[in-house]
Symmetry: C2
Subunit: 257 residues, 2 copies
């Protein structure tokens, strides 16, 4: 069975355009590498009922759910309160989290005050996720992983839990980059996708000053079939009078012009 | 009444991590500038029923809905088919779109073939959105704007329809950047947010080699109140022994470390 995932990005600052989210793409790549299919990502605002609703939908729908953001010490950090509501659980000051944070602040001139102690409060049945950057832990509850929003911290947390995830076969990919238009190759791509079962073909046009073309991306769990299909795409491109080249992994990204 | 918006990003290539989405942030900033509140953004896969469901939810929930991606000529471009289903409308080869595309390909060595003609097929009641980059139009149907996924094209389309959007008051923002921890200022921020009605305060910690601090972002439609509240935040930071500086607009973004 294929493991699936959903990502929930929590934060008004993303929706206002102030902050560029980079967490979706980073997690998406990590999941892809271990054969977990990311099915949906949502960027939602700092609103408890929206967070509760999204968590409950996702945790019932996907194998794994990852949330990013809203677990800091301030009044706008409402993720933990929402998680407790979603799982119908009580919150408690976690002893191990208190210990780690106490240690972290010892010997600094930072007071481990009430606001900071809020970061040790998590749902009763949650287990801690290490924070290798700034001590305040994330946590896991059933299939939900609650991460910080700061990319470096989120990435550290993700890497401490990655071995707990059961992936499937890695999805391999090939990119056939070509100098012909998407509309020219469309029919051939449809034919080739039908011919090779289990291979998914996407096509992405690119436009640059003085040139244009199409990147055809083929994805499959079966590498041998993937190479065969990629060669057939290249042949079709050549037959249509174009030039092309097959790239082994995802080095080309013409879409971000 | 405040206008709201939702964004739908359609494409497996985003969810696989191959392509970084930049459209959410770009549209979010544009909407923020004209006083439209982006409430949610979803990144969904190339699946007709998911697209239909998301469109129908969003168009009933928000003033404006913007979709990006999936309107090209190939077999994986299924947005238009999904839009027609969501609005229960028939598709037709739009005469004006055909005219524009015919003109566009005239005098080139590109054949305006069947696949490319697919880009002229839109729902019966839709109106065209200009594509200043590559001719193939987007379209509008009721409160849904259907854009291409390629950023440059999407941006061109957005700018041709921006005058059709009814915004509200622009939301002004101030960022108070400081060298004190989030946990230290938390209580004061809560107090200040309660004191100034209509002002929303978010706080974002940052960590850099050798330093850390907090960016406090205040947002409001009322610029005078906003300046007052920002000064009170700065004063609170100083009273706590820290230094800070007020930035007029969103130039600082410590979250993308």
């Amino acid at each position: 069975m294929v493991s699936t995932a959903g990502i929930i990005i929590i934060g008004d600052e993303i929706l206002s355009g102030r902050t560029k989210d980079t967490n979706v793409n980073w997690i998406a790549s990590e999941l892809n590498n271990i054969g977990i299919r990311l099915i949906e990502a949502r960027i939602i605002c700092d609103d408890i009922s929206t967070i509760v609703e999204t968590i409950n939908l996702f945790r019932n729908k996907f194998t794994y759910v990852f949330s990013c953001g809203g677990i800091g010490p301030t009044h706008d950090d409402i993720t933990t309160e929402s998680v407790a509501k979603a799982f119908n659980q009580k919150l408690e000051k976690n002893r191990e989290a208190m210990r780690r944070l106490t240690l972290h602040f010892e010997g600094t001139n930072i007071e481990f005050n009430e606001a900071r102690q809020k970061m040790a409060i998590i749902p009763v049945n949650a287990t801690l996720i290490d924070n290798p950057v700034s001590a305040a832990p994330g946590y896991k509850i059933e299939n939900l992983f609650v991460f910080a929003g700061v990319p470096k911290i989120m990435q550290g947390m993700f890497h401490t839990i990655i071995n707990d995830l059961t992936g499937g076969k890695k999805l391999f990919s090939r990119t056939v980059s070509s100098n012909i238009g998407e509309g020219m190759i469309a029919k051939e791509l449809e034919r080739i996708e039908k011919k090779f079962l289990g291979i998914k073909i996407g096509s992405y046009p690119y436009f640059k000053p003085g040139s244009f073309g199409t990147s055809v991306v083929l994805r499959s769990e079966e590498e041998i079939q993937l190479d065969k299909a990629s060669k057939e795409v290249l042949k079709a491109i050549n037959n249509l009078g174009g030039n092309g080249k097959i790239y082994e992994e995802d080095q080309v990204d013409e879409r971000n012009l």
